[in-house]
């Protein structure tokens, strides 16, 4: 009574799509499988008949610069992303966030596609990709479609991907002068290994002005959302403590955190949001000076 009956390794996207529509149900795509297999084992997901292993599809294993953008295949192991010089150069937040997913051995198997497709509202890697304004690439009806990463999420643990759609990878822009990103989180030492709160920020600086900014907290709702009102408070203003304090105030007024049993109260999450906003913002800002 294993978690699957048939394990099918495919080499191309078309083969994967074909398998997805013809294999004996229930069928699931597997890349790292680090979350999926545990969930099946522990009864949180039904036992599947067919697992389709996409680890040998070249496009999905690719991590490279394409034009003015960086492409990260959905089946790239998160440890590869963490250590990639390209990712470190262009999206340090993504390197930092993926470096905190699971443990070291898990990161060698787990993939960024799984981290996103799982649609958990506080997945570290996903949150950092949202801050990078990432476009997701989906293979559907024999062609590649780009959609904003945010459109992938329907609810906690539910993605908008249809059965024969395959999440192929992610694009975000290469770093330009004055830009930087950062990520951090606060954990609880007891209980489940999920962050109480995490935060990713992308920033574009012009002299001492925050010209543009993207701020994401997780979890802050059933699907990931940007703290847009907080962004507005900071955008176009100088990087000064008074604006940071104002941003914190706006954060409390406009971002909704909730109490989750045995992890944190909403009140404590607001405390951590203050801490993370200032810490991550300053970290990102300092990085902009390095160019």
């Amino acid at each position: 009574m294993g978690s699957w009956k048939e394990y099918s390794v495919v080499k191309t996207l078309d083969e994967a799509v074909h398998k997805l529509s013809t294999a004996i149900e229930p069928v699931k795509i597997i890349a790292g499988g680090t979350d999926l297999l545990l969930e099946i084992q522990q009864g949180h997901q039904p036992i599947v008949h067919t697992l389709i292993d996409v680890n040998n599809i070249d496009e999905m294993k690719c991590l490279e610069v394409r034009g003015q953008r960086l492409f990260i295949g959905a089946a790239v192991a998160v440890s590869k992303i963490t250590n990639s010089p390209l990712v470190k150069q262009h999206a340090l937040a993504v390197s930092e966030a993926t470096g905190l997913i699971g443990g070291p051995q898990v990161r060698n198997a787990a993939t960024i596609g799984g981290n996103v497709a799982h649609a958990l509202p506080a997945a570290d890697g996903m949150i950092s990709l949202v801050a990078m304004d990432t476009q997701a690439v989906i293979y559907k009806d024999k062609s590649f479609v780009e959609v904003p990463i945010m459109s992938l999420f329907k609810g906690p643990g539910q993605s908008t991907l249809e059965k024969t759609e395959i999440l192929v990878g992610f694009y975000f822009n290469l770093k330009q002068p004055g830009e930087a990103s950062a990520f951090d989180r606060v954990m609880r030492p007891q209980g489940v290994a999920l962050p109480i709160l995490n935060n990713a920020i992308w920033i574009k600086r012009n002299r001492n002005i925050i010209e543009d900014i993207r701020i994401v907290f997780g979890p802050s709702g059933p699907v990931p959302t940007r703290a847009e009102r907080v962004e507005e408070v900071l955008k176009g203003y100088a990087m000064e403590q008074s604006y940071i304090d104002l941003a914190k105030k706006t954060l409390r007024e406009t971002v909704k955190f909730r109490t989750s049993k045995m992890r944190a109260t909403a009140a404590y999450r607001y405390e951590l949001a203050d801490l993370l906003l200032e810490r991550v913002l300053k970290k990102a800002w300092e990085r902009t000076e390095e160019v």
Binding site: G33, P189, G191, Y268
Partner: protein, 940 residues
Amino acid sequence: MENEKMITFEVNGKLVSLEKKPGEMLADLLRERLGLTGTKIGCNEAECGACTVVIDGEAILSCNFPAEKAHGKQITTIEGLATKKENGNGNGRQGEYTVHPLQDAFIRYGAVQCGFCIPGQIMTSYALLESNPEPSVEEIQYALKDTLCRCAGYPSIIGAVQAASESIRTGNPISDPVVPIARDAGRIVGHSVYRPDSIAKVTGSAIYSDDLHFDGMLHARVKRAMIPAGIVESIDTSAAEALPGVKAVLTAKDLFAEKVHGLVIKDWPVMVGVGEKVRYVGDAIAIVAADTRDIATEAIKLIQVKIKPLPIVNSAVLAHKEDAPQIHESGNLLKHIKVRKGDMDSGFADADVVLEHTFFTNPNDHAFLEPECSIARPLENGRMEIYVGSQIPYADREQVASVLGLEEEQVRIIGQLIGGGFGGKEDIAGQVHAAMLAQKTGQPVKLLFDRQESLIVHPKRHATQIKLKVGAKSDGQLTAVETELYGDTGAYASLGEKVMTRATTHASGPYEIPNVKADCYAMYTNNPPAGAFRGFGVLQSAFAVETMMDMLAEELKVDLIKLREMNALRVGSVTNTGQLLDESVGLLECIEKVKTALYEKAGSDPFKPVFDQNDPNIVRSWGFAVAYKNTGLGGGAPDKAGAEIELLPDGVFEVRSASAELGQGLPTVLQLTAAEELGQGVDQVRVLLSDTDLTPDGGPTTASRQTYVTGNAVRHAAQAMRDLLTAELAERYDVNPEKITFIEGLAQIDRIQVPLADISKTLRADKVEPKVLYTYWAPETKPLGQGGKMHVAFSFAAQAVQVEVNLLSGEVKVPQVITANDVGFAINPLGLQGQIEGGAIMGIGHALTEDFVITDGQVITDRLARYRIPSIHYTPKITSFIVEHPTKDGPFGGKGVGEIVLIPTIPAITNAVYNAVGVRVDSLPVDQEKIRMAKVKQMV
């Protein structure tokens, strides 16, 4: 097209091709189909790292890696690191293996304790060094973050990885770390040696119960109630019985002899039958044996059980209420334990200040990395063999035999290596069920708990509520201490009475107090049973009293170390149970050692908050605590151990005892002791443990007693062996016995030397068996309430712990620990270091990470992912002092060490938190949210 039915990959340089098996994980394939049992499964949920193998250069968790994914890859397991030597006689320690530098370093640094996590540690480190030949400490911690060691040998692991890295880079051999020898070290005792089992443990050849396989072996699973209180109305096993591959399904109606088990009080039903009471979620309803584990699991699901729920008693305090539902026929009170000394009215009347506070400690799980596993094997002659890692083999034998309706001698417990115990492998887990199924089917039966079952079923640490009232003179002299404890012993007694007795007798701390009153109510509830766990009740009361001592120091404006020194037990003190301490009280020296080191590190006012120079939201301070812990059973219990020594035909002395090795290092202690007395080196002494046919009863491995009790038994047996050989040789060679001595492998008889092997053979030829048996009885003790000597000895300790608190998040870290432990005599310094460091880190876990959550009898913390034990990131800088106030009846003066090492850590941490941020922690574990929200309140 490749053959779709086969998986082909390379493992340890060999190409293997195997048929695909649906749903198979790589760990199972390696262990079951290739016999590579060095890869361990600790949690089977990708949490612990024990199953780590290296795939194409990367560390991967094989328990969560589909075997089919390994197709075409190169895999290295622990078995692939060492190479077996051709001629098989290498130099002593490494024997027949040429080990990898990591393996060598793990042995030398004492990083190997119970050994269960070691293959995972070494493979993770191996992958690290392959990609980063010179890792920093931070990089080692980053790489090993999720490779857990419950013995917490992390400091030695870090040292070993660094040493191996250096050796690989330079080509120089690995040298031993510096570990001080005992103050009065003998020729052999008091010096560091490598563990006798370490080579097996670092090469993956060490066998734990689940690594065993027998022909025709069936696999068992247990149907559990999963409801905390109720009456079983019906059990329908027909669908399970009809499932192909199921060989036996048993329920309570199949019990024909003893129907309960238990260590002191037999109140734990082997299975709960129709019409009988369910008392906790882990109660067994039915057991199944089947051809495979999967079939047995499926069968369990097919068993239909109807249970009529009863009201749930979820705490000790509720259980004590008059109208509480009655859990046992005898009621809910397991025991009311009393300590009385002096007169409380006059004690409090004498006080200038009286403080009162209530403290709460939470349940903890042992989280040993090796889940419980028993294999029962019926023999043709009607006997039953049980292969199990057990802390009390003879108690297993008695309990199994009584349920099977056999004589005790018809059952043989063959103790296996234990992958961590800490008190959690004293009670029956699967031994009885496996034996019943083996008896029924006539086939060997393996019963392996999965991690969830382990967390739900076995006894925990007692959740305890402790109300303390303390009276003192204005200078700090304690005049009276009154305590009221409620201990939650859960559904069954286990060792609850003993644990709570220890909590009660130690409730006022290691202080001399003229007037003491303590009342403890050990209560049954519908929570999982609570039993033995390292610290054994003393941990709970030490948290309360040591916090109270700091509160008192603050109230009186007295230095908190002086307050403890002033009241500390010393030679001549009378304990609160009326025991005169006439020797071996090293507490003041422990305090002195820690105090001096603390002042050196932190200046004369170490307890003030110090803000970080770069970040005003980071504040550090130190906390201080002391403790004492009894050695041995005490309290009037006959405390004895047997040991046998035989001079084998190859000239090696074999030491035998049924005492258990759980990683704490008992074989080394016994080996050193025998070698010292017999004039031999350690290679001339071999230790055999835990086999009820071959080794005499050593009693339970609990209460920090084995070094003392079995250590003494071996010492006396060795002396008797020496006398026996001397007498025989004196007669044969006609020389004065005084002219006979024993040296490495030889007897020196006047001027001639005879190999011990020859002596063994000669004696055997003459029908003289060179074998002695000695039963050691510890000095008599008095039961609680009678005054006099309640315990044969006490160990003492003091600790100072530094914490670092983030004021904005409330997060707490422990960067430094200073610890001093009075162990009497450091027989085995390298093993002692492992106990001290591991104890401190387990203490950090209890204070900061570990919370076993039970809500209305249901176990919320039913996965290792939810029960966090300290990872290598929690490793503090540890400064350790060994204090040696020998106890006259201990072996070479030694006393217990296993438990004392972690007891002061917890209150030292919580006291430090108060000193840093002014938030008093009175319930465990430390809650960072509470700290932050308290700071927010202070600011308003």
